[in-house]
């Protein structure tokens, strides 16, 4: 799997960065960058996002 951000929905609030247990997400001012090599598919960034901008997607780690 792996986590994916939809930049059209995202309001770059940094919330998902604040809950990711493995620091796989970074906010680059107005863009979310997810390091899927680190991601452990825990869904925290999906459950917390105020606007539903993140999702788990198959095959992002290959």
């Amino acid at each position: 799997m792996g986590a994916k951000n939809n930049p059209q929905k995202c309001l770059y609030c940094g919330g998902c960065v604040g809950v990711c247990p493995v620091s796989a997400i970074k906010l680059d001012e107005t863009r979310i960058a997810i390091d899927n090599a680190k991601c452990i598919d825990c869904s925290a960034c999906i459950l917390i996002c105020p606007v539903g901008a993140n999702e788990l997607v198959k095959g992002l780690k290959e």
Partner: protein, 400 residues
């Protein structure tokens, strides 16, 4: 190239970081403030409400430039729609124009001797013998700085404090997820007070708010517990659609953010590092307000950092006095408030309606105050809880 050196570098220039820069500059400490945003201030992740008492505590002028609307209290709406309005000197405050306030704070800090650079993303912080070394992305160009110590005011997404060994990560159960529109052309709310709406349908484990900025303009938002089925945006859109006065209005700004309401970090100091503001989870656990508390923590951290510079001692042992100061100034009070939060989380819609219908305003004020002890509060509630053993049990457990 030797990196430019400062006594203290403040990372993140929200309310906590800006006030920390100002305080250090006032003490003639060489200080650099860095923020990744292209502009100090926007976008806000905030409803901009600030109680009167915080202005004095944070040495902040009440100026019409950033205090755009006076507030005299709050009206709380229960799920059934009944309401209580609380007005008192203690509940007065202002709705801010945060972007203007933060620009002003930045200019003030610089006037006093601080240096501030926007569009400066700190990408790496590491300890080296006798200093902390920082790599910064300044508009696409790499810059390097060094300092005696860092104050991390890097907000909810605090990665720099984590790099320096303090785990600032939030647990899902300990955060609220917030969504807000600044709306104009709206009506149907009392512009003299904060309008607050409870109910598990409106905002599960949280509340919806209308914080007025004018008669026809307000921050309309919602905060919900961190593990709900639907998003905060879903509940906000539903809340707005269900109210004619809001549904006819226009959205002039969309904001989101998460709020660390589950209690602050036990330890906020490491070698060459202090953490303040949202990064240290410094918010009021009952209502989620964090501007004032962040500024207060920023001042405390700056005071300790200034002492550390004078003593040339940046060890965790020395810097730990910040923890003690924090507990004495605000921490102990917030610990108590965390219990009130736990109480509120236990209440069902029915409990809420029952309390709202059976208590007078004076009784609500007394129960909410920190000045009365538990037995006195239980006497006030006494008769009303006889018919509600479930509610009585919750009150007994969590009231302080």
């Amino acid at each position: 190239m030797t990196p430019e050196h400062f006594d203290v570098i403040v990372i993140g220039l929200g309310p906590a970081g800006l006030v920390a820069c100002r305080t250090l500059a006032e003490k003639k400490i060489s200080v650099l403030g860095l923020d990744r945003k292209q502009e100090i201030g926007p976008p806000k992740r905030c409803a901009e409400g600030l109680g009167l008492a915080w202005f004095k505590r944070a040495k902040l002028k009440i100026s019409p430039e950033w205090c755009v609307h006076k507030i005299y209290g709050a009206t709380l709406f229960s799920p059934s729609g009944s309401s209580v309005t609380l007005k008192s000197k203690k509940l007065q405050g202002y709705i801010l124009e945060r972007k203007i306030l933060e620009k002003h704070l930045a200019m003030d800090a610089v006037k006093k001797g601080a240096k501030i650079i926007a569009k400066s993303d700190v990408i790496e912080a590491r300890r080296e013998p006798g200093r902390v070394f920082l790599r910064v992305n300044n508009g696409g160009e790499e810059k390097q700085y060094s300092c005696g110590m860092v104050i991390a005011c890097d907000g909810i997404d605090s990665l720099i404090a984590r790099q320096l060994g303090l785990n600032t990560t939030n647990k899902l159960v300990d955060v609220d997820s917030g969504c807000q529109y600044e709306m104009t052309g709206i009506s149907g709310y009392d512009p003299a007070v904060l309008n607050i709406y409870f109910g598990t349908d409106v905002a599960p484990r949280g509340y919806a708010w209308i914080f007025p900025k004018r008669k026809d303009t307000a921050n309309v938002g919602i905060g919900i517990g961190g593990m709900q089925k639907e998003t905060a945006k879903y509940y906000l859109d539903k809340f707005i659609a269900s109210r004619q006065g809001l549904a006819k209005g226009s959205v002039i700004e969309a904001n989101a953010g998460i709020i660390p309401v589950g209690g602050f970090l036990e330890n906020m100091a490491k070698d060459s590092l202090l953490v303040a503001g949202d990064a240290a989870h410094h918010v009021d656990p009952v209502h989620g307000g964090g501007i004032g508390i962040a500024m207060e923590a920023g001042i405390l951290a700056a005071n300790v950092a200034a002492e550390a510079v004078h003593k040339k001692d940046f060890s965790e042992k020395f810097l730990s006095r910040y923890n003690k100061l924090w507990y004495e100034t605000r921490g102990n009070e917030l610990k108590k408030k965390l219990r009130v939060r736990h109480l509120l989380e236990q209440l069902s819609n029915d409990d809420f309606n029952y309390l709202a219908d059976s208590l007078t305003i004076e009784e609500v004020m007394k129960i909410a105050s920190a000045d009365l002890d538990k037995p006195t509060k239980l006497i006030i509630l006494g008769k009303k809880l006889v018919k509600r053993p479930g509610l009585a049990k919750i009150m007994l457990k969590y009231l302080n």
